[in-house]
């Protein structure tokens, strides 16, 4: 529910979503004020004494159907992001298992991989903050492995003292202001501490960030902090505090789809890029990126130096090197597919008996009527464009993974 | 072909629209009668070049070629080779009609050693079954690749090195390659002649091609009835029937309650296979029988059928070839279809009755003209029994209640040795009882403990730890199957340790040398024996030592004849005093003070003997962790 709103809001206008959450909390009250829910009451046996149907229903509800915004809007495909990780002592808390730090590091790794998977021509850098200062452990790079390697290095992930929000923000800002205007500028902070140790006035920093068009998003691990909330609101980022481990991941991964940008914010520009050709020599030669002998690799189109992996920036001439599939990887953000709509039971007389794409038979209305517990939903979801019916698994799969509607593609319109 | 002429017409037309129309009608015409009787001759074949590979590959082939030693590639799988005397397997000795070479231990382990059958049989033509049952994946691929490369009468002209270019030049891949070729030549599917060319058995090739293209007129896949019987049993019924019949046999073996006496054939098989032996007043289950119980159904059925085959010849006067044919045919039938007994020989009809008794087939009544294979039969030829049993259940569990559940895997083992079995089947429970202590029984679930005593009891019955473990893992609950490793390692290790615990004693046959007159003689002979590594045990104080069997021969001749120079250099022959040599099968324990001279077999070690050894001995290298065992005794 709130998720849905969140997505909508996020794309329509850049207000932060916490107001939404707040209103929600007012309605429901605090968690400890709620009546105790007895989870087993929800379970009900059907006639045969089987729980199968109830369980299925529960699962169905659990399976979130994400309603995405399907309007074609401009998105910042070429992103520049700083990931700021709090390494203060507060991260040693064990309220998230195994500990805040361990969880953060493992999620950060997944985040980086997924980030580059979805935004192949974007860049990412990592800053850690502890003991009142900030430290950049990896520079802006298009190579996920560089970042992950930096995170894996134990030396980089000791915890100490208090974090410094301002120091790390300034450090990120000093790099981001040099980013060309066609790319988005973003900062993502994973914050475990409730305090920050800053040398100056953080409000000035926030104002600077706003002026520089840098979007700051924060994922808090402890509780809501006013300054973070304010910062996110002003810079049009998102702010969320994790409820549990899974929610943590959700919050992080919400940042992964490229953010929408306004038309005025940055102009469409042409970015020079190299499309290197792949080589495989008979004898190994040194690569320019790691100075290791390799057999295969890619040759930079401009300076002819050899690199191991794409996408990356040429270490010699700093040309952005990609291959055309990398560009194609971002297309689904540009051309999202329509949401499917749920088909109610009543117009079932004409509907197909099998899911269009995976051929799984739909539950039959008559069969259900015979049963004691009616299934709430018909289990059918329709694409409004091609009028084909899909099962819920395919619906989720189509929207989250394939980004193609099999029905629409199966016929020419 | 009408198609071609029409197309030429098409090309001439300029107007696109009308051409489209034409295509439509044309396609309708020529594809409307789309029958697919694949004619072998229509499938054109071309001489085939080995794939172009990178140069380094070829280079490496040169290098590795001589390192490969085909002789060393021993087939690890146990194989029953059957020469049906039908001509292809000429190199195998003729006089016997069939020839079973089977490791006696073959039936004791899990699915990987499930008996596999090699046969090249002109009558079954069941190439696909062979292909799947016996060959490693790479070999299957080779067969498939070469199947259509040449016209049937032309041999495949490939050398071994040509074929090697098809595999990657990695150690693992080459090992697989050798394994594949070895298997293929063992089965006479492909042979390598002197000039290095690989020949594929033409007969096999043709049959297999037939099998894939649907050619030929052999009826090796059963003759279905023209129209299904009006009251034909559904699959659920067949499953129930199969399970009922099969479990009846198992029940009979376990001896639960007084089940009705099974048929004569069953009795013959179980006694013949030594699954049961004559007891006081009735048949008693043997060690082998216990082991049999722990195997999965598919292995059981196979073991049973092989024994049946064994007796078919002499006791039932059946033609083995026909019996075998029938088994294979049964394996390729479709579940739930009715088949006609027409076309079966009398032997096979007789066989059918027995098989119906085992639960492999179903007939409404004895003289019925239809029969229905059950799932036990149709899964005969599938290689992977684990899958089979899960497949059995995935459909069975939806239809039948109890049996389905038991087959599906129902056991949950916890790290604390507690075992929960979701089953109601008495049979399964009594199997569990073999190695568990049953604690509580619920409506659909049994709760048991795996204890040292219960496992030892099983071990005493001749069940091995591996069998228990493989039983547990093959019957594991689907929830357990998601975990890696499947069974808790603590439990697995402990069961193994409990087994090892019993094997602290190792029997070695040998000769005991004793009653040496003086120390010198003793030392000299001992030294000689030690130098040659024959000594098993020695005791200076008692002037006794024991040598291995082969060593004894050696030592004795050297002693008597003085052939060995080193031996006789220092001592004159006459100086050797006599001493007695006692021939015995000694039970030796490393630090035993007193030798047990009696001939003992470890399996039958009587309780008092063990006690004596135990009390005498403390520091057993293997058994050091089990000191508590001595206390118990």
């Amino acid at each position: 529910m709130s998720k849905q709103h969140k997505q909508k809001n996020l794309t329509e206008e850049f207000i932060d979503v916490d107001d939404e959450i707040q209103t929600n909390t007012q309605q429901t009250g605090y968690a400890w004020e709620e009546e105790y829910k007895r989870s087993w009451d929800v379970l009900q046996e059907d006639e045969d004494g089987s729980l199968k149907r109830t369980v299925e229903n529960l699962q169905q509800r659990k399976r979130k159907r994400l309603f995405r915004d399907t309007a074609t809007i401009r998105r910042g495909i070429i992103r520049h992001m700083f990931l700021i990780i709090d390494l203060s002592e507060a991260m040693m808390e064990k309220d998230l298992r195994p500990s805040r730090l361990d969880l953060t590091l493992s999620y950060a790794e997944q985040f980086i991989l997924e980030y580059f998977d979805q935004n192949p021509i974007s860049q990412l850098a990592i800053i850690v903050t502890k003991g009142g200062y900030a430290e950049k452990i990896s520079d802006l790079t298009g190579n996920p492995m560089d970042n992950i390697r930096a995170l894996k290095n134990k030396k980089n992930t000791d915890t100490d003292g208090e974090p410094s929000l301002q120091n790390s923000l300034e450090m990120a800002r000093s790099t981001l202001i040099h980013v060309p205007s066609h790319g988005s500028r973003e900062i993502l902070i994973i914050m475990g501490s409730l305090t920050t140790c800053d040398p100056g006035d953080i409000y000035d920093t926030i104002d600077n960030l706003v002026n520089e068009n840098i979007r700051v998003s924060v994922v808090g691990l402890a509780a809501e902090v006013q300054i973070c909330k304010l910062m996110c609101k002003k810079t049009k980022g998102t702010y969320g505090v994790v409820l549990n481990e899974a929610h943590f991941k959700d919050l992080l991964f919400e940042i992964i789809p490229p953010p929408p940008v306004s038309n005025t914010q940055n102009k469409a520009e042409l970015v020079i890029m190299g499309f290197p050709s792949s080589v495989s020599d008979s004898s190994p030669s040194l690569c320019a990126c790691h100075s290791k002998p390799t057999i295969g690799g890619y040759i930079c189109a401009r300076c002819h130096s050899k690199i191991c992996d794409l996408p990356t920036d040429c270490p010699v001439c700093e040309l952005t090197l990609v291959s055309s599939p990398h560009l194609a990887r971002s297309y689904h953000h540009l051309f999202p597919i329509n949401n499917f709509v749920e088909v109610p039971w009543n117009n079932n007389s004409v509907s197909p008996t099998h899911c269009f794409s995976c051929q799984i038979p739909f539950p039959s209305f008559l069969g259900v009527r015979g049963g004691a517990v009616p299934i709430e939903t018909s289990g059918r979801y329709k694409c409004n464009r091609c009028q084909q019916h899909f099962c819920i698994d395919c619906d989720v799969f189509v929207h989250e993974v394939i980004h193609n509607c099999p029905g629409c593609l199966a016929a020419i319109h | 072909m009408p198609e071609n002429t029409m197309i030429e017409f098409l090309e001439i037309e300029n107007d696109e629209n009308s051409s489209k129309q034409r295509i439509a009608s044309l396609i309708n015409k020529c594809d409307g009668n789309f029958t697919m009787n694949i004619n072998k001759s229509e499938l054109k074949t071309f001489p085939l070049k080995p794939p172009e590979n990178s140069s380094d590959n070829k280079e490496l082939v040169k290098k590795v070629a001589k390192d490969i030693n085909i002789e060393n590639v021993e087939g690890t799988e146990r194989i029953i080779e059957m020469n049906l005397g039908l001509g292809v397997f000429e190199q195998i000795k003729e006089p016997l009609k069939y020839d079973i070479i089977m490791d006696p231990k073959g039936s004791t382990s899990n699915t990987s050693t499930k008996p596999k059958i090699i046969m090249v049989d002109n009558e079954t033509k069941n190439g696909a079954a062979i292909n799947e049952l016996l060959l490693p994946p790479l070999a299957r691929q080779f067969v498939m690749s070469l199947l259509f490369t040449q016209p049937i009468n032309n041999p495949v002209n490939l050398t071994k090195s040509d074929l090697r270019l098809w595999v990657k030049n990695e150690e693992a891949a080459l090992a697989k390659f050798d394994e594949a070729l070895e298997k293929l030549s063992k089965l006479s599917i492909m042979t390598i002649d002197q000039s290095g060319y690989i020949q594929m058995n033409c007969e096999f090739r043709e049959r297999f091609r037939d099998c894939l293209t649907g050619g030929g007129d052999h009826q090796s896949f059963g003759v279905p009835c023209k129209k299904p019987a009006s009251d034909r049993p559904d699959i659920a019924f067949l499953d129930r029937h199969a399970m009922k019949q099969w479990e009846e046999i198992l029940h009979f073996m376990v001896g639960t309650e007084s089940m009705s006496q099974p048929s004569a054939a069953v009795l013959k098989v179980v006694t013949r296979a030594k699954l049961m032996k004559e007891g006081k007043d009735r048949l008693m289950i043997t060690n082998k029988g216990f082991q049999f119980l722990l195997q999965d159904v598919n292995t059981q059925v196979w073991a049973f059928l092989i024994q049946y085959l064994d007796i078919a010849d002499e006791l039932l006067q059946m033609n083995v070839v026909e019996v075998l044919n029938f088994f294979f045919m049964l394996g390729s039938l479709e579940l739930g279809m009715d088949y006609s007994v027409k076309g079966l020989t009398d032997t096979q009809k007789q066989l059918l009755d027995d098989l119906a008794n085992f639960g492999l087939a179903y007939r409404r009544k004895k003289g019925s003209s239809r029969y229905y294979p059950t799932r036990l039969a149709t899964t005969l030829t599938s290689g992977n029994s684990a899958v089979v049993s899960s497949a059995v259940t995935s459909s069975a569990s939806t239809t039948t209640g109890e049996d389905g559940a038991t087959e599906q895997g129902f056991i949950i083992v916890e790290t604390n040795y507690k075992l929960y079995a979701y089953t109601e089947s008495k049979l399964q429970i009594s199997v569990l009882r073999l190695f568990c202590e049953l604690q509580t029984r619920f409506a659909n679930m049994v709760y048991a403990l795996i204890t040292r005593d219960s496992v030892r009891k099983a071990l005493k019955h001749g069940i091995t730890a591996n069998q228990i473990i493989s039983y547990l893992s093959s019957h594991a609950h689907p929830q357990m199957k998601k975990r890696i490793p499947l069974l808790p390692p603590t439990v697995v290790d402990q069961i193994r340790l409990w087994e090892i615990e019993r094997n602290r004693l190792e029997a070695t046959e040998g000769y005991l040398y004793k009653e040496f007159r003086n120390q010198g003689d003793y030392e000299m002979v001992l030294k000689y024996a030690t130098n040659h590594g024959f000594v098993i045990w020695s005791n200076e104080r008692k002037r006794m030592f024991s040598v291995t069997e082969e060593g004894h021969e050696h030592v004795r001749t050297s002693l008597i004849n003085g052939y060995d120079e080193n031996f006789t250099k220092n001592i004159k022959k006459s100086e050797l005093k006599t001493f007695s040599i006692e021939t015995s099968r000694n039970l030796l324990v490393s630090d035993n003070k007193e030798l047990v001279k009696k001939s003992c077999n470890i399996e039958n070690v009587e309780e008092p003997v063990i006690k004596r050894i135990r009390t005498n001995k403390r520091a057993d290298p293997k058994g050091s962790t089990f000191n508590n065992s001595t206390k118990q005794n």
Binding site: V271, S278, L310, A328 | N17, M36, A173, G383
Partner: protein
Amino acid sequence: MNALKDAATVNEDDANLLVLIIDTNPLIWTRLAKSTGLSLKEALQHLMVFINAHLALKHDNEVAVIASHVDVRLSEDTDQTINSNMYQRFKVVNDQVINNMKELFEDLSKLNSYPEKASSMIAGALSMSLCYINRIMRADEIGHIKPRIFITSVSPDSPYQYISIMNCIFSAQKLGIPIDVCKVHGEDAVFLQQAAHITGGRYLKLPIPQGFLQFLMITFLPDRFTRNYQCLPGEEKVDFGAACFCHKRIIDIGYVCSVCLSTSVNEGGLRVVNGIKKLDKSKGRESGGST
């Protein structure tokens, strides 16, 4: 561009699910039959044997066949029985495929509604097979079934399907499904070449169409386990030079629009690209803001 590393994940005992996509574009097949002597009917016979061979390799192998047709809806045939007991199964599967094919062609009576450049709906077929595989894999909890996709393609690439094909390729890559492609006829299909390369499948352009079956048996039959040990044709490297949107030339260095990711040779090309973008807009495929 990480081709799948299968060695660790694939087991000898695993069952294989083969999703076979047959391009049945009748326009091209009739032309093909004329020029090379391999008609659709013959090709189907070959494919039938191939399917049988696949099923014969292992008793629990499965196959699903999807026909990728010109514009009419996809006719799909799915052999949904998990427990394919092969010998009898050969016949069942073959009959099913053939009947569905027949239906498909009978359905073609409204062939007049062909758009100008009819092309086969490979993207739709791919999406469908991915959904199907997704369903099978979801049902198979212990990860016993190893899927792969095999496309026999005759139609040329359709630029309209570029994005959707690429989307499919990336999802296949994500799920670890190799896509094999056999190009029976015509020019190399660049999209499908990329598909095979990115997902770690095989791409082969048929040199001798009459020898279709042989190539099927040798190149495309091996399952994922065997492939770890075999080197087979069709594994050469593919280069992904990006094509300039304006001149369709392959370029080394180019300018990429930061919004819509279109590529051009030089900055002067901007205007041309924008022209295309406007064109696109009329087709509802514009990425939004214009420059």
